[in-house]
Amino acid sequence: MSSAKEPGVSLEEFRLMAERAGLGMTTQELEDLKPLYDLYAQHTEILHSIDLGAEEMGMTFHPDWPPAPHA
């Protein structure tokens, strides 16, 4: 039995997350997917680490400045 701490969420937490999302995954599928999830979790951690102040949401693109002269 390994004493090393699992990166990110535990497998049990991961199972609960997948159940909540309705993904219906087997234990083997969960174990296979978790390393990739941990990799993607680095992206979400970055997003939550930024001090965005009062920044609003961008949603879809909308030009915030006048069109180029060619347009």
Partner: protein
């Protein structure tokens, strides 16, 4: 109509168009040359999923009759093209590269499909792609991954993999790709061709299978900048079927190139070195060296280089990814839950991760998007375009390919999907091992003429397009 000699498949759209207009080349002969080329090469390239030989020849005969009767429609008339297999084609299977949609036959053309056909284009077939425009080369889907004509042991990049391989190998004169994080410019760069995604809203997405509503773009992949201008001109413009399209008039992009006469004197080029050229940024040294040379070429043509800083660039990959996977899960949720085993391994895993992201993740990503757009707007008050490498690396080999490589490290293309700004990739040379390198030009909203102008000047000065793949 007269019949010309061999290597018709290496004509550009502009060259062929001139011959077709003068009735010195028959659309039927031209189409037959491309069908022969596909037949001779597709077993090795795996770029076409569906080949429409009979229909293409029938359409070519119609185009021939129209031209002979004096009804020449314009630069796409009689031009053989192909579509990434997520563009709907009425009555023709459209699979998105997936077992899930293996038998899907749309009743209606995508707007872009219809516009190219109405412009007189000859549809040769449907092209391979990464499943549902995500992931990478996946041998667990029904279709073999497309191979790079510059080295068949290497990937094409994606997700418009077949589009890159087909144009680079002379299987078609132009193709449409689609792009959510770089899927047009990426394979264009790795296959040594031109690829452009216009401003979000410039080209209709109606009838194109969704990956991420707010980041998907449609656009052409061609051998030259001028050809890309011709194709974009044919598909751009307002579409009542796509409420995000702009009603702004569509300029004549190709005519603009000639008017400017390759002159970029006085153009200010922004260079965000802190992100795209950082020594520890993970980019390939040969790629960086080639694009540095490109900047020198542009400076020699009269452009002014100005180093710019866009701090939030370092968050863009995360925001692009979270938005893309969240929206993709929403689009594919029903099938993912009821037919999971019909997805390839790579996409199934990524879509499932989309289902594990939270609303808070998505909102944070959208706030980063707003921040990034504001910083870009400030930057574009000082510069006309940005010039960067298109990709961090040249085409990887299939052997030992790391499927997570696209998750790690920065993306040089995603910033312009997140922002919706126009961006083009143009060939910028080769690595020592002969793999193509791309240079990216990005611009202000709806300033496709501006990025075409810089890309065209660079292309004409360097003429990398004179080199064709050693393949056949």
């Amino acid at each position: 109509m007269a019949t010309t000699n061999a290597d018709l498949h290496y004509l550009t759209i502009s060259q062929a168009g001139a011959l077709l207009q003068r009735q010195e080349l028959s659309p039927v002969e031209l189409t037959r040359a491309f069908l022969n080329r596909i037949e001779a090469t597709n077993d090795q390239l795996h770029s076409f999923i569906t080949i429409l030989s009979e229909q293409a020849l029938a359409d070519a005969r119609v185009a021939e009759a129209e031209i002979l009767q004096g009804h020449y429609k314009g630069p796409m008339h009689g031009i053989p093209f192909a579509l990434k297999d997520l563009y709907d084609t009425a009555g023709i299977r459209t699979t998105s590269g997936s077992q899930v949609d293996i038998d899907r036959v749309p009743a209606e053309d995508a707007t872009t499909t219809a516009r190219l056909k109405n412009a007189g284009g000859i549809l040769l077939g449907k092209l391979a792609m990464h499943e549902y425009a995500l992931g990478g080369p996946d041998f667990t889907t029904p279709f073999a991954p497309a191979r790079n004509p510059w080295n068949l042991d290497h990937i094409t990049g994606g997700s418009s993999s077949g589009s890159g391989a087909a144009v680079a190998s002379g299987q078609c004169m132009g193709a449409l790709g689609s792009c959510t994080g770089g899927s047009i410019r990426g394979p264009a760069s790795l296959c040594g061709i031109v690829g452009i995604k216009a401003t979000y809203g410039r080209v209709s997405r109606a009838g194109v299978v969704t990956l991420s509503w707010s980041q998907d773009h449609c656009g052409p992949m061609t051998w030259t900048v001028e050809d890309a201008a011709h194709m974009l001109g044919a598909i751009a413009g307002y579409d009542p079927r796509d409420p995000t399209t702009s009603a702004a008039p569509v300029p004549n992009y190709a005519a603009g190139l000639k008017q400017d006469n390759q002159n970029i004197r006085g153009v200010t080029i922004g260079v965000p070195r802190h992100f795209f050229f950082a020594a520890d940024g993970g980019a390939n040294p040969e790629t960086l060296a080639a694009v540095e040379k490109g900047l020198t070429v542009l400076e020699g043509l009269g452009a002014h280089l100005e180093e710019v800083t866009i701090p939030s660039l370092e968050y863009v990959r995360a925001a692009n990814t979270v938005i893309m996977l969240s929206e993709a899960f929403a689009f594919h949720e029903k099938n993912l839950k009821s037919r999971a085993n019909e997805f390839g391994e790579m996409v199934r895993a990524r879509f499932r991760i989309g289902g594990l992201l939270t609303a808070s993740d998505y909102v944070q990503a959208q706030r980063v998007r707003k921040l990034f757009n504001r910083e870009l707007a400030q930057t574009f008050q000082k510069v006309d375009v940005l010039v960067t490498p298109t990709m961090t690396q040249p085409a990887a080999a299939f052997e030992g390919y790391d499927a997570t490589s696209t998750v790690r490290g920065p993306s040089f293309t995603a910033p312009f999907n997140l922002s919706g700004l126009p961006a083009i990739s143009v060939p910028a040379g080769f690595t020592a091992s002969g793999l193509p390198i791309g240079l990216q030009v990005a611009g202000k909203p709806f300033d496709e003429p501006g990025i075409f102008r810089v890309a065209y000047a660079y292309e004409q000065a360097t003429r990398w397009f004179d080199q064709r793949p050693p393949f056949m």
